[in-house]
């Protein structure tokens, strides 16, 4: 008979009533994962495979993409889904390798703050971005700024 040590992570039974957040987290990892495959693979294909790939990326390239609400929403969806998926996955890992206590709480707080701050920052950047800032050299800007 093979014996496997019991997991060190304490058993935390689901609440008897109300919302089972761990269950919804589990579902979220799977739903967001499927959507992220489409979002990320397209992102990588458009930015790294088409044209001159990574060599073509500069301020003008980003300005050209975000001139179109389609790519603005694409990138914002990717931002929210990936950061929440990643931060929640990191929370699982913290639960696996640390004991409950202050240190564990601080790590989870750090994950939460990193995700929250970057989601707000990223969303603001995408929607308040000015592709033709006044006074910038014209050769650094998307071609449509000249018009």
């Amino acid at each position: 008979m093979t014996t496997i040590e019991a997991p060190r992570t304490p058993v935390r039974p689901a609440p008897k009533r109300g919302v089972n957040l761990e269950k919804w987290g589990w579902i979220y990892m799977r739903v967001s994962g499927v959507v992220l495959i489409v979002l990320i693979f397209t992102h990588l294909f458009v930015n790294l495979m088409l044209g001159d790939g990574v060599k073509a990326i500069d301020f003008g390239f980003v300005g050209g993409k975000w001139a179109d609400p389609f790519w603005q929403w694409w990138d914002v969806a990717m931002l929210w889904l990936a950061l929440i998926h990643g931060a929640n996955g990191m929370r699982t890992i913290v639960n696996d390798y640390t004991k409950p206590g202050t240190a564990q709480k601080l790590m989870k707080l750090a994950l939460f703050l990193a995700a929250a701050v970057l989601i707000v920052l990223g969303t603001l950047v995408v929607f308040t971005f000015d592709p033709c800032p006044a006074g910038a050299p014209a050769d650094l800007l998307p071609s449509f700024c000249a018009a």
Partner: protein, 140 residues
Amino acid sequence: MPESSAGTLTAPEKPAKQKPGGTLYRGREGMWSWVLHRITGVAIFFFLLVHILDTALVRVSPEAYNAVIGTYQTPIMGLGEVALVGAIVFHALNGLRIILVDFWTWATRHQKVLFWIVIALWVVTMLAFTPRHLINVFSH
């Protein structure tokens, strides 16, 4: 299914000839796919933190953004991008494998075959990506 008793998990007796690694998550494909999924997940997470900050520089100035994104176009970073794309493609394909194993009993029974299918699809994707990316990085 392993039975649980008094704080340990016990797997049923196995035939003398069988190699170790009978459970879904210990040893062999089941365990290594999990190890790789975890390592790639953490790596992608930290890259994503940096990637949002570098992209946010478009809000500072065209010069600031171009200076930082220029460092992504050097040969060293070009190789790093191959590693990054490799990590994402593995995590994505194996993520699909996890979902299939969770929801479909056929896939639960054939998780080992599915792991090798993930590896095969990963090799094909990387063969399509790597040459084209390296040509972009090392020419022009």
